[in-house]
């Protein structure tokens, strides 16, 4: 715990970040994609030697989601070996879709503890080696296999019921969802690490294109759902002294937060653990809908997202997130998570996420640009790599490196100060958030 008024924690810097692009299939092995990513970090930090990890007491934190998708348990032992890091203190973090953001948080806390001067985070996923229905099954058994998975619901269906309830209670519309999909896809077009342009070319899409994409589970259509991807990414974190030694262009992880919620979404409306926690939310519950015992989050919002964001803001000393944050990367396996997330992250009141979409606030040139990478529906969702890649994209934005790393100088924001990146797993069962700043 932090002592009031004093920052016990040491500053954590990002020295370098990299992505081996998302696509499906990649056919390149996990360890080879990881090597491609780590090689880019070595190119960016000529002073760094892989031998330093043993000689100077650095550590590694690995991130991948599914032993089933990889057809391999302990895949990180192969990665660690392949990178020539035998002997180096390391382990794997796994928490469903929250795996990569939790790996970043874990590594940042390791650096803050003073135990390790530097920590390398490496994340990856393989998702194309089984038939697509089996891939869906491997993801769905992250839901409760006795009570959720065998109900006949796919994972898409659980998120769809959550969005259908938002439509009923808050008035979200099909067009709001389609607009989020358009934003993501069009943001990905200049991203050379993104899966959407790799597969579909470089033309912009419209709301009508989203409507023409096939229905998956009403209200969600194909373009509003995450892609399954293969890819890898890496981040080198270090303490303040080492960061300044290794790079002239540091970005700092100034806040981290994480939280949790029930395994089964259906247990949330009357969850006694949430009862009375947020009285301000109960006041704005619409009169036309019967109020459950715990109106927040119900199936409408994601309690774990709020807990993780508020913890990260407190950690980073952020009082007014809407004003202080320059841009945001939301982990959006489904478009509705952007609408809910904007509320859960305190960028607006609950039920008003849709207005931020309709008013263009989250557009590329809006007041709070979101999903600049294209996020999960367009950059892609190689689970163990997803949020690490979103952190890397955000790090490049803050470090004024988009021109160099994307080859798209036009996509560089003008002097952004702080970024907020979130990740979550399950139906919001677990969530993590980080605040970056220059």
């Amino acid at each position: 715990m932090k002592i009031e008024g004093e920052r016990l924690a040491k500053k954590v810097g990002i020295v370098a970040g990299s992505i081996s692009r998302f696509d499906n299939p990649r056919h390149t092995l996990q360890e080879e994609m990881c090597a491609e990513a780590v090689k880019m970090i070595l190119d960016d930090v000529p002073e760094l030697e892989l031998g330093d990890f043993m000689k100077k007491g650095y550590a590694c934190c690995y991130s991948y989601f599914s032993d089933i998708l990889e057809q391999q348990q302990c895949m990180h032992w192969i990665i660690n070996d392949y990178l020539g890091l035998s002997g180096v203190p390391s382990y794997r973090v796994e928490s469903g879709g929250a795996t990569p953001i939790d790996a970043v948080i874990n590594a940042a806390l390791w650096v803050r503890s003073g135990m390790f001067p530097a920590v390398l985070v490496v994340g990856w996923e393989k998702m194309n080696e089984m038939p697509i229905q089996k891939v869906n099954e491997a993801i769905a058994i992250a839901g409760d296999t006795d009570w959720d998975f065998v109900s006949g619901f796919t994972y898409n269906a659980f998120y769809a019921t959550m969005e259908a309830r938002r439509m009923h209670v808050y008035g979200d519309t099909e067009e709001d969802l389609a607009r989020v999909a358009v934003l993501n896809h069009n943001n990905s077009l200049e991203n050379p690490y993104a899966q959407w342009p790799a597969q579909n070319g470089f033309n912009k899409i419209t709301v009508d294109d989203v409507y023409k994409s096939r229905l998956i589970s009403w209200p969600y259509r194909l373009y509003e759902c995450a892609m399954t991807s293969e890819g890898a990414s890496a981040l080198l974190l270090a303490n303040e002294e080492l960061t300044k030694k290794l790079t002239d262009n540091p970005v700092w992880i100034s806040g981290v937060g994480f939280g949790s919620d029930t395994m089964r979404a259906g247990d949330r409306p009357d969850n006694p653990a949430w009862k009375g926690l947020y009285p301000e939310d109960e006041k704005i519950w619409p009169k036309t809908v019967p109020k459950p015992m715990s109106p927040y989050p119900d199936l409408l919002n994601f309690g774990a997202l709020r807990v993780s964001a508020r913890m990260a803001y407190k950690d980073a000393g952020i009082k007014n997130p809407r004003k202080e944050i320059s841009f945001v990367e939301i982990f959006d396996p489904y478009a509705g998570v952007v609408l809910a997330g904007l509320e859960d992250f305190d960028f607006c009141k609950r039920g008003e996420g849709k207005n931020m979409v309709r008013d263009g606030v989250i557009e590329r040139h809006g007041e709070l640009p979101c999903q600049l990478s294209g996020a999960l529906t367009a950059q892609g969702h190689a689970v163990g790599s997803t949020s690490i890649a979103q952190v890397v994209d955000s790090y490049w934005q803050l470090g004024n490196q988009i021109g160099k790393k994307w080859g798209a100088p036009g996509r560089q924001l003008s002097k952004p100060k702080k970024a907020f990146i979130h990740g979550h797993g399950g139906t919001g069962c677990q969530a993590g958030a980080v605040v970056l700043e220059v």
Binding site: D146, G152, F158, H168, Y211, S217, D270
Partner: protein, 230 residues
């Protein structure tokens, strides 16, 4: 101290051992085929070059002997056509899915008691699946509903039958049905409307799109399975 001793089988529906052994032999990791492909690859879209890959087709799988633990009563109930939940003797919350221990933080993981539940409930939210699991593809478009069983503090996900997908809505009262040939999992449970459903509000464009989507789905089901159910 006392040893727990061996399990006593009280009732059993055996699996077909030969079926499983054949299946297990097929799922034994041995490549059943392979292909060599060429594809452009590289770490970014600015650095692609052609590469050759060998891909093997390698099956594997298993049969799990899964215990439902202390909530087995729920599934034993299904086998008898009954619906059970658990109730906390301290706070009174009623769970379905049942919990053997109450998760209300003030109850200190109190052990719960079994209660029989009415086969009635209300739709808390819903979706219409047009890509369902392969075993249920013939039922597409398939309504999935989060159902709050009357008197419980939880929602149980289940599929709905005998409903026009266009009409399902939040608040709809439903009957809960248990399959006449229960297998012993949650798929034995499904909902049907207990009142005349009132469709949610849709704009003319949304309704047109919705009907086109349903027609497309039904056409696919008819082509694939020879008939439609919903």
């Amino acid at each position: 101290m006392k040893q727990p001793g061996p399990e006593k089988i009280l009732k059993e529906k055996k699996i077909d051992e030969k079926w499983w052994q054949d299946w297990e032999r097929k799922g034994g990791w041995t490549p059943e085929g392979w292909k060599i492909v060429e594809m452009n690859d590289g770490p970014t879209l600015n650095e692609l070059k052609p590469e050759k890959f060998l891909i093997v087709h390698r099956p594997h799988g298993s049969l799990f002997h899964h215990s439902y633990g202390k909530v087995s009563q729920f599934f034993m109930g299904l086998l008898e056509g009954k619906l059970y939940g658990t109730k906390c003797p301290k706070c009174g919350l009623v769970y379905c899915p049942p919990r053997a221990h109450c998760f209300n933080p003030v109850c200190r993981l109190a052990e719960t008691k079994w209660v029989e539940l009415p086969k009635k409930g209300e739709v808390h939210s819903y979706t219409i699946m047009v890509i369902a699991w392969p075993s249920m593809a013939h039922l597409q478009p398939l309504v999935g509903a989060m159902v709050r069983i009357d008197g419980t503090n939880t929602c149980l996900p289940m599929t709905m039958r005998e409903i026009d997908p266009e009409k399902v809505n939040i608040g709809l009262k439903v009957n809960i049905n248990i399959s006449k040939q229960p297998k012993g999992d949650l798929l034995d449970v499904y909902a049907t409307p207990a009142e005349e459903p009132v469709a949610p509000k849709r704009t003319p464009e949304e309704l047109k799109r919705f009907r086109e989507d349903m027609d497309k789905t039904r056409a696919w089901v008819k082509k694939t399975f020879g008939k439609t159910v919903s």
